[in-house]
């Protein structure tokens, strides 16, 4: 494969950025949930 280093760098940096952003959002959501009364945090399709 040509340009293997560039390809690896491009894909892994993108993945790292998107995954860390996603994790950050999920963690923030969990932390904030604790500070909001239960009846105010229902998502329309929430099952659990």
């Amino acid at each position: 494969m040509t340009h293997a280093g560039y390809i690896a760098a491009g894909w892994s940096i993108s993945a790292a950025l998107l995954v860390s952003y996603a994790v950050m959002i999920l963690l923030r959501g969990r932390r904030l949930s604790g500070r909001v009364p239960a009846r105010r945090r229902r998502w329309m399709t929430a099952e659990d």
Partner: protein, 272 residues
């Protein structure tokens, strides 16, 4: 709209409320995204061919070769950057018209996702440009420069939103900024286009790519998967914004009660 958050008075017991921003919708979305990512990985690295075709002289090959595999991230990220930031500008405009917090939160969520995707676009673009164009940064390309300005404008938008302020005042300022970005970008695009009267993009990349068979399929798949991922991120981010506002107003109710208690005590002390 109702996918994003519930507003119905609920019949279920309170302990059933989720302690996170997930729901059945997001789980389905997430599963589709993950499956799509696996498929994209397979197509991008194993099934799709490198870009190469016979050169002008006999026996030589030209093209991007394997560097084309970076396109499967770069192009979808770029497309969804424009969609996300365009949605932000549109939501800002609607906010100014309707003045409802819903649109403000949507604008905020889209701006944040747009900026992240824009960073991905710029980084993969630079990494791709180095082997193919021979430079990390090409000043002469309209889209490269415009995208950087777009990134800076909406990074400024997020910087402004991060400053503590009264929610309504912040929403107003943010909506003007979000809309201002949409006003600015066409002008930037036009000025850069005139500035260097050529665009490398169209001449040396997509049009000459062998856009057929699996390359095209993989690009379309990449766009779909990135779209699913963006939507999944947007739903979660929107719910985080909702929770933030709710946490703030929950704090306000406590502060109000405290303030009224202070009034009660003060009145007793000062009553004749």
């Amino acid at each position: 709209m109702s996918i994003l958050l519930g507003r119905s008075p609920d019949r279920r017991p309170p302990e059933a409320a989720p302690a996170h921003t997930g729901s059945r919708t997001t789980r389905i979305l997430g599963a589709l995204t993950l499956a799509g990512l696996v498929g994209l990985g397979l197509c991008a690295f194993i099934f799709s061919p490198p870009d190469s075709r016979p050169g002008p002289e006999a026996g030589t090959r030209i093209g991007q070769f394997d560097a084309v595999r970076l396109m499967y991230v770069h192009l979808p990220a770029a497309i969804w950057t424009y969609v996300a930031l365009g949605t932000c500008a549109m939501a800002s405009a609607v906010y100014l018209w309707r003045r409802s917090a819903w649109w403000d939160r949507l604008a905020h969520a889209c701006a944040e996702i747009g900026v992240v995707l824009c960073a991905v676009t710029l980084i993969t673009g630079m990494i791709w440009g180095r082997p193919v164009w021979g430079t990390w940064w090409e000043w002469g390309d309209v889209r490269v420069v415009t995208t950087l300005v777009l990134f800076l404008v909406y990074a400024g938008y997020l910087a402004m939103r991060s400053v503590p302020a009264a929610p309504e005042a912040r929403a107003r300022r943010a909506s003007i900024l979000g809309l201002g970005g949409a006003v600015l970008i066409p002008i930037v695009n036009r000025s850069v286009e005139w500035w260097e009267n050529r665009t490398l993009h169209q001449q040396s990349t997509l049009e000459e790519l062998r856009i057929e068979d699996l390359t095209l399929f993989t690009l379309v798949l990449g766009i779909l998967v990135m779209g699913l991922l963006s939507l999944w991120l947007a739903v979660h981010r929107f719910r985080v914004a909702w929770l933030e506002a709710e946490a703030e107003s929950a704090g306000l109710e406590a502060a109000l009660a405290e303030r009224r208690a202070e009034a009660g005590a003060g009145a007793e002390g000062s009553s004749p």
